[in-house]
Symmetry: D2
Subunit: 298 residues, 4 copies
């Protein structure tokens, strides 16, 4: 298939590489052009604008940082309100083609995109992923898929090329984002849990690692083992995923819950702890640190 890939960050770059490896024709675009060089060497075309990238594409994949970045690409850069300006994905993607949104963005934006693509005669699939950059590189991501079954079927081979499995969630694109956001919440909740438990046992003279070793018998989970070790060792730098991005996700949880009229007190607690940690200057540490760092403003 002829594919446009927009956004070559720590996640996007290896994901695009897997598509090339699976034999697809790829045009890539990134705001910072230098990041495209490795993919160019591997056979990708490099576009200098969104319009150029998606011209003639059967599918356009976005893997961008946040709502604002996706809005820029979709409706055209600069003044975000200028839907009419013609420089965005919505305008340039051929009718019948599919936009696959893989970024972690708000369900509100997903709903807006779904309507806009429908208006433009394009298909829209929401396909957020679970996994960190190492998993993206190793093709170990789990890919969620939300959207009309026929649209998902058409792009399924692309999704399969980027991860270890595709999990179809529902007919609404927003459903896949909601699952992704809720999944992130469950991980963040495990971080809060481990941090509080470590603090408790340490007040009684017990090392965090010994405690982890014990509860590993109960949980037997790579999430507890992996993050539990990081927190016990206080290895928060360099960050695999920054607290600042973790806070962004916590905001998405809050917004998704608020929009769905679901009270989530634990999600609120996590947001507030992350916010306090970022305000105290820990935003560039690994997000697993959020409930373990000191809250003195420097």
């Amino acid at each position: 298939m002829k594919i446009a890939f927009l956004g070559l960050g720590q996640m996007g770059e290896p994901m695009a590489g897997h598509l090339l490896g699976a034999g697809h024709t790829l045009t890539v675009f990134n705001r910072t052009a230098a990041k495209a060089e490795k993919l160019r060497a591997a056979g990708a075309q490099v576009a200098s604008t969104v319009t150029e990238a998606v011209a003639g594409a059967e599918a356009a994949i976005t893997m961008l940082a946040d709502d604002a970045a996706v809005e820029d690409v979709a409706w055209g850069g600069g003044e975000r309100s200028a839907a009419s300006s013609g420089s965005g994905l919505l305008k340039a993607l051929p009718p019948g083609a599919t936009h696959i949104s893989m970024s972690t963005i708000s369900v509100a934006l997903v709903d807006r995109l779904a309507r806009a693509h429908s208006d433009c005669g394009q298909a829209f699939v929401s396909a957020p992923v679970f996994g960190r950059p190492e998993a993206a590189a190793a093709r170990k991501l789990w890919v969620l898929a939300g959207g009309e079954p026929s649209a998902i079927t058409k792009v399924r081979p692309l999704l399969e090329a980027m991860g270890q499995g595709v999990l179809t969630v529902g007919d609404e694109p927003s459903s896949a984002k909601a699952v992704k956001i809720a999944g992130n919440f469950t991980i963040a909740a495990a971080l809060e849990t481990l941090s509080e438990a470590y603090a408790l046992v340490s007040a009684y003279g017990i090392q965090s690692k010994m405690f982890l070793d014990i509860i590993n018998r109960l949980f037997q989970s790579p999430v507890y083992q992996g993050y539990g070790t990081m927190i016990a060792e206080r290895k928060f730098e360099p960050a695999g995923f920054t607290l600042r991005l973790g806070l962004k996700d916590a905001r998405l949880v809050w917004q998704t819950a608020d929009r769905g009229e679901v009270a989530m007190p634990l999600a609120s607690l996590i947001h507030d702890r992350m916010l306090a940690a970022v305000a105290a200057g820990h935003g560039e540490k690994d997000w697993s640190s959020f409930a373990s760092v000191e809250l003195n403003k420097s």
Copy 2:
């Protein structure tokens, strides 16, 4: 070894059975005598008082409901303050023998017991367990051990006979209880997490079981799988472990944290949710229900 076993509830009875099975000489005591019949048939002596049960024992094991029950047994029934009355374990257990406290009780009481046994020339080991009645029956409990190394060594064969492994925690008996209490907290936190996540995705049309199926790829944990299924199916009766007992444990977490000067906002959240659920009449349901039940007082 000659052992006294005090407390034959859902946990204590199978645990005592394993000791018999391992060839130890056992005298049992339970407030409700009828519960001892099965063990009598299996070869245990049945005592009608605590004093009688522990007379001549090398080790006395307590597996009782709560602080109050352990205090009754330790210092003698009736007026709890009458330490001098002579009807309790502290008075009747031979010097040099060991009290193994396996109940989930407060660290404050553990500290008091440790001092009192030391005053009486007896050893004291704290050995709480992880696992529900099925695990006790199947000898799948994990046994924690806190206390002087020599004391633990002496009773280690008993502890091994009751579970799948013994995890030595520290020299202070209270350390083992703190680990047990913190471990319970981590499980309760997973229940809160799953309940909130289910509520969130269901607002976007996603079935809890589908969500669980997806996050199982991340967590790969029997705790999430097991409790996640119970909560998704809302199978809260009959209770494996009642919410009323879960609330008791949540109180222990709070007290342990308060005593250790450790702020645990998630533990407070869980306590408050359990309290509200019990107040609304759900105390006899399974504790996994605490964040999913309705809060209308009937």
Copy 3:
């Protein structure tokens, strides 16, 4: 002065009336035209579009429900992104005139409006109010004012005509909204406080009103007296200010705190309680009910 008044709800209508009473020339606009009839009878012009209302005005006052309504009026109705369409306040208000935003809206929108008006050569003053409809009618509102001192000075007589006093907050329009939003939070916090305290004493057989009578000796505050009586009597209908609107304000608190990187756990608690109460069907009750209603979904 020649004034346009946009938004004739329970608050706007009496406020516009006071301006007429003070001798100003008034043109009013409301989406539902019928609401303008009383003011027409009192001497106001009634416009049928925003453009018509603000043409030739020295000041335009907006008193609207929420961010969306203010965006519609500012940038023109329909497709909110069409800033260029020419039907909004920004386009139609004469250069040199002042937009006085009195609605409770987000600081993010206030910042956007401040920039946009500056671009159009217009002044912008943020002037939210404290007080309910009765206070608006009785000219007992407190009016906050944020913006450039010269701009505030010019419109001060208008602000004074609508309330019992004008409190200048700062040079940034957003500062006045932040104070308004924080003020709302303090009231909501008093509601949560009273509800929890009543629940506590009632478990010990004490009537809420007796408790209120006692703590009134400490607080001596009309807020505690007024809301305390409503909650004690459970007089939640008809609503003076609905829970649905209270939730909107709680969202503003959250957004303002999040934007300012200030963790506010009590504000989060209040938001979550309000959200749960609205989800359980209490949205049209008075907002003072939020921590006292049952959470059974019907």
Copy 4:
């Protein structure tokens, strides 16, 4: 009346002084005898034991630090369990006399005292007070009274001599303590509220004092004015009432709520914040600081 007064702290000493001033015959007792000298000079007898103090008294007043201190005095010092030892108030107070418990203690202990005094043929009145040491000195305390009406009537003149008014709460002694504890909670909640609101507005460039000046128009309360000024000025030393004692009260709120099966999320939040502040070394500052101090452990 012939009165024994036990506990001459910052509160007890001036309260005892007012009783002397009202013409009663007073015998005082304090663990640290030196504190009694001023009262001796004013005409009080000074006893060296509890037994001596209450011998022949018509009423014995306790104004002590916490549950443990009251238990010591009631059941006799040293080994608290030795109710039988004869050195406590319960043993030494004449039948028919009244114990007036004015300390802020747990409702659980109040219930135990009520039963114990009844068993000993003595009356028991619970009479906690609202007010700080300055109020005690100025006879501005509010005195709550719980207990049998006839018992309250008998000691009412004493209560009136110590404050500006007596508020009868209910027939159960515990009811007065519950009201006192709930009242303390409402004050602590106002501290949390003010601290969060100040943090919010300061992120938008607004001085705390300006904000306080504005919300004073709404609340018009000496509580907000007084504490609001302290927090705005960060005048936390010397402490009028230490954070360590505030935490003790927060624990009482938690225990009272837990016992009454009332979930109080705001009370939990306050407890956790106070605990964190004490753990970070702020225990000797004024309690109004609890939500405003930094949480770095030194």
